[in-house]
């Protein structure tokens, strides 16, 4: 059955067939019993890029543009390791990174096929440069 972003929300209730863990365990396999039996690792309990893109479609369809864009970036970031994300988050705080460092992070994001987030980092770098928020390298 094809996906209808208005009819099929919320996904968990209406289209559980479209929601899986990163390893492909279906939604009804995510249970306390499965956890007890060791069939479910902790890092399996997270959203996949596919689920997040479907959520973005839902947001677009109901006119929530900014939310949809957030979810599209989230879909990109689902593949980026947590410690790397935290490093980029820290680099984006005021005066933590030089223009070159921010560009290097953006290039790394490009490497993870995360063009929207990379563009976000480049946009921040340009704004920081003009507002004096870059680190002095």
């Amino acid at each position: 059955m094809s996906f209808d972003p208005i009819r099929d929300y919320p996904l968990g209730a209406r289209r559980p067939d479209l929601v899986t863990t990163p390893a492909g365990i279906p939604l009804d396999g995510v249970s306390l019993d499965a956890l007890r039996e060791g069939a479910l690792a902790a890092d399996e309990i997270r959203a996949t890029p596919r689920t997040l893109r479907l959520q973005a479609e839902v947001a677009h369809a109901s006119g929530r543009t900014q939310l949809a864009e957030n979810l599209e970036r989230a879909a990109e970031l689902a593949a980026v390791p947590d410690d790397l994300l935290l490093e980029i988050y820290t680099a984006l705080r005021p005066r933590r990174a030089t223009a070159e460092e921010l560009e290097a992070w953006a290039a790394q994001l490009d490497g993870f096929d995360a063009p929207k987030t990379a563009a976000f980092v480049r946009e921040a770098a340009a704004a920081y440069a003009e507002r004096g928020l870059l680190a002095h390298g």
């Binding site: 919320p10 006119g63 900014q66 864009e69 005021p94 946009e123 921040a124 507002r131």
Partner: protein
């Protein structure tokens, strides 16, 4: 018998604080401050050149973000030319759908939005909030903190907050390394106060929020 928690609360300085009257000239005012900029939006060739008294070259990072990701220039000229009072009345008119208000609001600059909101009294603001609320089932969020960073006290306060109906809780820590302990206290307390309540809302977050934010950027001009 009064519990130690309540008797200790009663002696805290916070209990002795007075209500502060607005001092508009110092900026201590919710809306209609005398130093608020005049709403304006200059657009040339599809690019914003001026907003609320500022040239684009003087935009701070928040102005830039608003221009790049918040404003819808397709609606801006229509929305900015509307009368403040007309917009304020639409916010409390049950005949005006949320979708129309959302569409127009994307074309309004921050100063214009502030003007419109400034025309509403608290009851009208509540109606506007209800109209614009995106959630199907509203839930309120609370901050649960204490100066001593005592996990038992935090858990007790979190339990009380859940019991009183808060759907989501967050904490702020003074000492960063206590963050995990505070998060656990909040989780245990909130679930004790109203078991399962927090995960019941489909649109809300699942489980108690375990994030402890150290700093907040809000309100600072960069």
């Amino acid at each position: 018998m009064v519990s130690r928690r309540f008797s200790s609360r009663a002696t805290r300085d916070l209990r002795l604080e007075q209500l502060v009257s607005p001092v508009p000239e110092l900026g201590l005012v919710a809306a209609n401050g005398p130093n608020d900029p005049e709403p304006e939006l200059g657009v040339e060739g599809g690019a914003v050149t001026r907003m609320d008294g500022r040239e684009s070259a003087d935009f701070d990072v928040i102005d830039r973000f608003v221009v790049a990701h918040g404003l819808d220039l397709q609606v801006a000229s229509e929305a900015m030319s509307m009368d403040d009072l007309a917009l304020a009345r639409m916010l409390v008119d049950v005949n005006v759908p949320r979708s129309e208000l959302v569409r127009l609001s994307r074309g309004l600059t921050p100063a214009k939005l502030a003007r419109v909101i400034g025309l509403l009294d608290p009851v009208e603001l509540m109606l506007a909030l209800k109209k614009l609320r995106a959630r199907r089932a509203p839930g309120n969020q609370a901050h649960v903190t204490n100066l001593k960073e005592s996990p038992a006290l935090l858990a007790a306060d979190a339990a009380e907050a859940a019991r009183r109906g808060f759907a989501e809780m967050e904490t702020t820590v003074g000492v960063a390394r206590y963050a995990p302990l505070n998060a656990i206290a909040l989780l245990v307390g909130s679930q004790t106060g109203r078991p399962g309540a927090i995960r019941a809302r489909g649109g809300g977050r699942r489980g108690a929020t375990s994030a402890a934010r150290a700093t907040s950027a809000r309100g600072r001009r960069w």
